[in-house]
Amino acid sequence: MERAMEQLNRLSRSLRRARTVDLPEDNETAVYTLMPMVMADQHRSVSELLSNSKFDVNYAFGRVKRSLLHIAANCGSVECLVLLLKKGANPNYQDISGCTPLHLAARNGQKKCMSKLLEYSADVNICNNEGLTAIHWLAVNGRTELLHDLVQHVSNVDVEDTMGQTALHVACQNGHKTTVLCLLDSGADINRPNVSGATPLYFACSHGQRDTAQILLSRGAKYLPDKNGVTPLDLCVQGGYGETCEILIQHHPRLFQTVIQMTQNEDLRENMLRQVLEHLSQQSESQYLKILTSLAEVATTNGHKLLSLSSSYEAQMKSLLRIVRMFCHVFRLGPSSPTNGNDMGYNGNKTPRSQAFKGCWLPQIKGLAVQFLMEPLELLWHSLDEWLALIATELTKNRSDSSSSIASLLLIQKGASQQDPASPCPSDVIGAESSGELAATPRESLSHELVEKPDAGADGEDVISVTANRLSAVIQAFYMCCSCQMPLGMTSPRFIEFVCKHDDVLKCFVTRNPKIIFDHFHFLLECPELMSRFMHIIKAQPFKERCEWFYEHLLAGQPDSDMVHRPVSESDILLVHRDSIFRSSCEVVFKSNCQKLKQGIAVRFHGEEGMGQGVVREWFDILSNEIINPDYALFTQSADGTTFQPNSNSSVNPDHLNYFRFAGEILGLALYHRQLVNIYFTRSFYKHILGIPVNYQDVASIDPEYAKNLQWILDNDISDLGLELTFSVETDVFGAMEEVPLKPGGSSILVTQENKAEYVQLVTELRMTRAIQPQINGFLQGFHMFIPPSLIQLFDEYELELLLSGMPEIDVQDWIKNTEYTSGYERDDPVIQWFWEVVQELTQEERVLLLQFVTGSSRVPHGGFAYIMGGSGLQNFTIAAVAYTLNLLPTSSTCINMLKLPEYPSKEILKDRLLVALRCGSYGYTMA
């Protein structure tokens, strides 16, 4: 290149001096003199230079070894090209990759050069090293006009490249309609397979070239799979090319069923097939109905297969749910009507759940057509119903009659299905399993002798264990189908009726295998009335599982739940001021759309560049600190100094209820996006968020003295004390004492030994709830915008704290250092040694549970365990000895941070009992 520039400079200098230059002697230098002129098509200069020189016009130069003729053809320098040809340049000279000047002219669409080359009898049939000919090049780029000229000279329009691809293949792949037509008119083989068996139609489909596919099919292209059996339809579906699928189906109506059957493929890209079905369903109302009916049929078959005990549960379950998901998706779309048919076309950005659209069709098809659509599925629901009824019968039979033959049958079935069909000796396999009797029984007598044998208690369970998963998956499918006929957010009465009808069996399922709830009973989260029936079972499940379920469901409603943090557009960025973080955040959050905030948050501080997750975290951190800033008077510190709750006097700030809503929104938003906040609330406020009633012990966190008094009232007989308490209290409202009745006419009702519990409860509610009810309501209004109440109730107050504020770090060494021992324990006692060893072995989560169990708080105060607060000031963590009796669990007194640890005989027992206490401790609260 340098040399070329130098030559060029020399040349221009000489031109300026109006003198001709002589071409250098050696070809290599000469060619670089000529090349720029050829590129600029300065044929006169070239002609002049060449006239008296011995330059070899076929001299190949450069890395790719091209001649000047290549350069001319490539650049469209037609005059130079002719000149060079006249000078004897070889039109078929091939460069290092085998390309002739004609190839280059064809590739770049140099029409004139191409025709000149042909005039000078350039060979159109030459292949380059990849086997490509000039027509391949024209076809790739869709240069139909040139192809017309060229194709008459071509001996074989079906000439193949090294991959066996013809010009028609590449034209189809790129969707050049006129090129395809031209090639077909020139006799190209419409069904020609390449080396892997792919035909032109296959290529058109693999790239979703609808028009090209249309041309091919109308010209009689055959529908052929490649050598691996992949069909054009497979490709269309893989790519989500609805329009191309439609064309295929128009020409081969039976492919419709194939598309429907594809819903069963495990290795399917579901969203692509859904796109295709979406498109197809929008073609006409009859098409829409046909798709739904067919999907319903496939779903029913799959559901029945799932109910066959020998089928694979995993595969069939996934298949059924996938098909039903697609069914519901299409169902919700509704058929297109002539008026909106156009804008519902396939373009990828329509909104399928458009309410207006939905509104206009639903009433029309609701009556007869829905019935018709659902008919195949009704068979499945009928089977489901019969199955559940059958199990219910067996259960009652089991309860009354100890020998149930079905149960033992199921037992046998289970054993049999565990064994490999090819394995000749079943008893070995079964023998390894739990059922001892079964293994001992010779194969021939399996059928009847066994019936009486197994003990009944376990049998009833076994009926369920083999069918529960399968039936539950079908129930899930049933729920999905019921729901898609209902407006969003409403539960179908039919489904509620169904659950009520089979209440016993369903409860039996989940008691036996609670995982079913998380796997299949998502409906519970959407229907509080059904949820309450299962709540006790759900709450007994590990925190982690509930957490996963919570988030899975929380994000399930999002349109792109698979993309958690999407890039946000400039207008959606929350721009906040650092110096007025509370007010400016409040403003931008109130202005923002709740749905958008759910999709992702982006925060930028005014005058700062930073964006991204780090900034979002920082924002939550600073903002949560500001929310509890005493200057706003929104929250007050509780007695222990680390937790907060709404300030009953927050109304000094006139806009306080809006601010509570804001605080609720921030907390909800943080939870939604799994961000932690830097606030710890009182136990009672967490209960308020959860909707759990508070009890008198919760008072301790805001007024320990008062809590002690309440405790005393409960603990002692008050009949003869003459307390003269009535059902009313005096409260301090900005200095003035006001008497507030606890219930109607409360000031004239005396508190007695009989009604003292009620008094304690009411007085607690007054102090803890009624006094801050408007604030709580404001907060919840904001919080529920992001977190539905039905979901948050999966947790208790301790877990809610963990969710909102995260897992605190616990330094076990510091803990050991600041622990006291009492009632007989010494630091060196083996039980104490075991205890700390166990603590070391616990997970971080379990240690937090332990800390919560004993202190009521999940956090260690600033400065460590030395600063743990009790009901009245500093109070070290204390372990007290309790005499051991069998199965005795550890207990605690949270107000004095005391763990009452029985003197366990071994470390194993200690660990086991401690863990039991921790897992149950959070739920049942008994006063120790």
């Binding site: 397979p193 055959k222 529908y223 052929l224 799979p225 059996g229 992949v230 069909t231 497979d234 081969h252 039976r254 492919l255 069923q257 194939t258 059957q261 594809m262 493929n265 009916t293 049929e297 078959t301 029945h304 297969k305 109910l307 066959s308 005990l309 020998s310 089928s311 008919e375 195949p376 068979l379 009928h382 089977s383 019969e386 199955w387 009824a389 059958l390 019968t393 079905i406 049958l409 199921l410 046998i412 079935q413 049999a416 069909p421 079943p426 194969r443 399996l446 059928s447 083999v466 069918t467």
Partner: protein
């Protein structure tokens, strides 16, 4: 990718408990006798692609439990069946006597066009026979059923039973008596007809090679 066939037929296997329905299905699909057969729980499922009269047909077979307690569950599978094997045990008159009940179920719950073949199973146990061939074939004739005696143990007539049933259905489709497009017919089209051209292409390239040798 997906299986290739011209038609899919939904089949049922019905009859009293212990007549060998599951063994017939197993013999048909696996080509061997199921040694350690237990009572079927609910409904089991099997499928096989067969060639009948030049057509490939996928048989989707639902093998029902014979025991009375499952009757309500199994009944929900009847609808949309194109064909059924009604099975009794030639060594048990009791299973023969209940045939009318099964037949009534099939006729009332399944499609009216359902093609039923009566199978007297356990043909290998001729010594213990309680139902004669003649008697059963008379019953079949009266009720417009096809009839075969089968043995799931030896495999005798098992294939025939399924194929015969499929053949009759195909005939009915050809004669227009059955419309596969109708809902609940228990018949579906496959897309095999579209793929048949794949084979000739393969053979073509083979012959080409032979020529060039």
């Amino acid at each position: 990718m997906s299986e290739t066939y011209d038609f899919l037929f939904k089949f049922l296997v019905i009859g009293s408990a212990g007549t060998g329905k599951s063994c017939l299905l197993h013999q048909f699909i696996e080509n061997k006798f199921k040694q350690d057969s237990n009572h079927t729980i609910g409904v089991e499922f099997g499928s096989r692609v067969v060639n009948v009269g030049g057509k490939t047909v996928k048989l989707q077979i639902w093998d029902t439990a014979g025991q009375e307690r499952f009757r309500s569950v199994t009944r929900s599978y009847y609808r949309g069946a194109a064909g059924a094997l009604l099975v009794y045990d030639i060594t048990s008159r009791e299973t023969y006597n209940t045939l009318t009940n099964w037949l009534t179920d099939a006729r009332t719950l399944a499609s009216p066009n359902i093609v039923i073949i009566l199978c007297g199973n356990k043909k290998d146990l001729d010594a213990d026979r309680e139902v004669t061939f003649l008697e059963a074939s008379r019953f079949a004739q009266e009720n417009e059923l096809m009839f075969l005696e089968t043995s799931a143990l030896t495999g005798e007539n098992v294939e025939e039973a399924f194929l015969k049933c499929a053949r009759i259905i195909l005939n009915k489709i050809d004669s227009g008596e059955l419309d596969p497009e109708r809902m609940g017919s228990g018949i579906q089209y496959g897309d095999a007809s579209l793929r048949q051209l794949r084979q000739p292409r393969g053979t073509q390239s083979q012959t080409k090679q032979q020529c060039s040798c």
